[in-house]
Symmetry: none
Subunit: 181 residues, 4 copies
DNA sequence: AATGAATGAGCGTTCATTCAT
DNA sequence: GATGAATGAACGCTCATTCAT
């Protein structure tokens, strides 16, 4: 049980709240209370709430990419890794009560100025794009097919969030299988 | 140019703000200022901000379904109507600077209580589902195929919003064509 | 079942709310809603909320004096009527969960201007004073003794309200018996 | 003249307003304006208006009990202390234009929820009860007599408030003398 | 490095009353 | 005689941020 730094405690607490309750629904006071950190201490580590969100998204990006990569790592070839990716979505999202994607969720209702957050979201989605495309490197319609799979992934996430069900993820997987064959 | 009622002015103003700036970013004060309505007058017509959002979503549902239906009405058969639907997305979303779906956006960061809003979102998406499925009535894999198209639609909307580009819509259309053939 | 006039409905509804929930806790909107009366109709019958309170207090005065008089009417002599008055307090207050005196309650937290309400309260208490004093007409220390009984009555009411118990009423009765003998 | 803390300024200002103008008549805005404190500063020290009232009542309890105790401290025996207590009421209440008891006044018209305030009122009255009963410790009818005196005290306070006169206090004193002899 | 106190601006909501028909 | 619509003012409270120590 390693002792966490103040900064780590803030990011961890904020991450939990931002993801599960929403960025706008989470106040600075709630974060510092749950993290047991003084307000001014928090502002010593982060210039603004937006900066905490950036740290949250950066960490989330690393974790999420790692989880996905690990989840599909046992598959023999790229095709199966791609299909297994939809199983990852199902396992992940059903485990968080279909709370959806932290990156999608945060840009849907954001103060006009906070560009740094938007940048993190695009960075994340671009890395997902790179990953999917890399798994299609031997196809001749790599670009087109990759984009289609990306749309399926994002659609599965948001629609399962709305419907609180995994049928959109199953549908996405089915479509992916057809498109990949 | 017919004179609008106060209620209409409120809904119209709020709709514009909720959609373009976000539900949490839009305050009651801004709505009444832009609609030129006294605060208490507003609360004569709506019991809460949430209720305004419900009115906004109900109107948006009608408008959106109508626009889509009209957009594809000239197509000869259902298959072409379905494919044309993705052109609708492209026309619509490029015209609003890829602001995405008002229904998706509002549930991503919502106060925990406001269930009435969530209900409207689900109602909307269920009607979209019915519409898409009805255009597949003669297929033997209607259910499965319909769900796949719905995922593509939602994915195209949210990903074009993140990327501020229409490539996800084009990809979704391509995928739809393949799945429908 | 006689049909009530609008005015009667308003006073009856307001009386219930003013007494049980408090004057400040009762809004105009609640009154008209529960009385099923339009707001402007209400203001046709009463110029202000204060005027409704005045009507409430006038009616309450009549009812309360009547109830007390009737309650003690079977007693043979004035002394016993006076002592029976404390039984009246006990029956009345235990039946309203020790909500206290509507006249006491309304002056404790009143907007500075509303003098008409204060006047009604004083009128009521003066009539109670007259009644008690009249029951002591044959005593030579009528004035002094009457005032003492009045203090006991008011104290029994307010203290039973605070303590939510009838021990103050019993104590007042005991004291009254001693003073009267 | 020691410089007061913000918290002290708030309680002092609120106490003055709550007592003299009434709890419902006193708004948060008035308190912070007269105390020259920012609204958010106030909410740093108190979670709600109710909590300010609790602080007000706690302080008032201490002050009032102290004043009474001191006022009667020169009397030789308990009997005289008890009788002198009614002189205290007269001195006190005539000095505040018969504004009555802050504890009585605040429960007469209180929002349904605010139980913490009611608790303070009962605490206060229970301590008064203990004090009066303690001054009767050598009587064999201590309990009964004490309760009677308490009713006289409360009645004197509320009736002098309604009548804006000290005759109820004098009457209460007379009755007390009789009962004690 | 760490902190509790303080802040201006804004939140969503309700008040008693008046107006136009 | 009756009404729904409209209103300015105030309500209690929370926001993200900064200051003084």
């Amino acid at each position: 049980m390693k002792k966490q730094s103040v900064k780590e405690r803030i990011v961890e607490t904020a991450s939990d709240l931002f993801y599960n309750n929403g960025y706008n629904q989470t106040g600075i006071n709630q974060i510092i209370a749950e993290a047991s950190v003084a307000k001014a201490s928090m502002y010593q580590h982060f210039r603004s709430k937006e900066d905490i969100a950036v740290a949250y998204l950066k960490q989330r990006h690393i974790n999420w990419m790692g989880s996905l990569t690990e989840f599909v790592s046992n598959e023999k070839n790229n095709n199966e890794k791609l299909i297994k990716s939809f199983d990852f979505l199902q396992t992940w999202l059903s485990g968080v009560n279909y709370r959806g994607c932290g990156f999608q969720n945060i840009i849907c209702d954001l103060p006009k100025e906070q560009q740094k957050i938007k940048d993190q979201v695009v960075l994340h989605k671009n890395d997902v794009k790179k990953l999917i495309h890399s798994l299609l490197e031997d196809k001749n319609n790599q670009e087109e097919l990759g984009n289609e799979l990306l749309v399926l992934i994002e659609g599965a996430i948001i629609l399962s969030q709305i419907q609180k069900s995994d049928w959109p993820i199953i549908a996405a997987k089915n479509a992916a299988i057809k498109l990949l064959s």
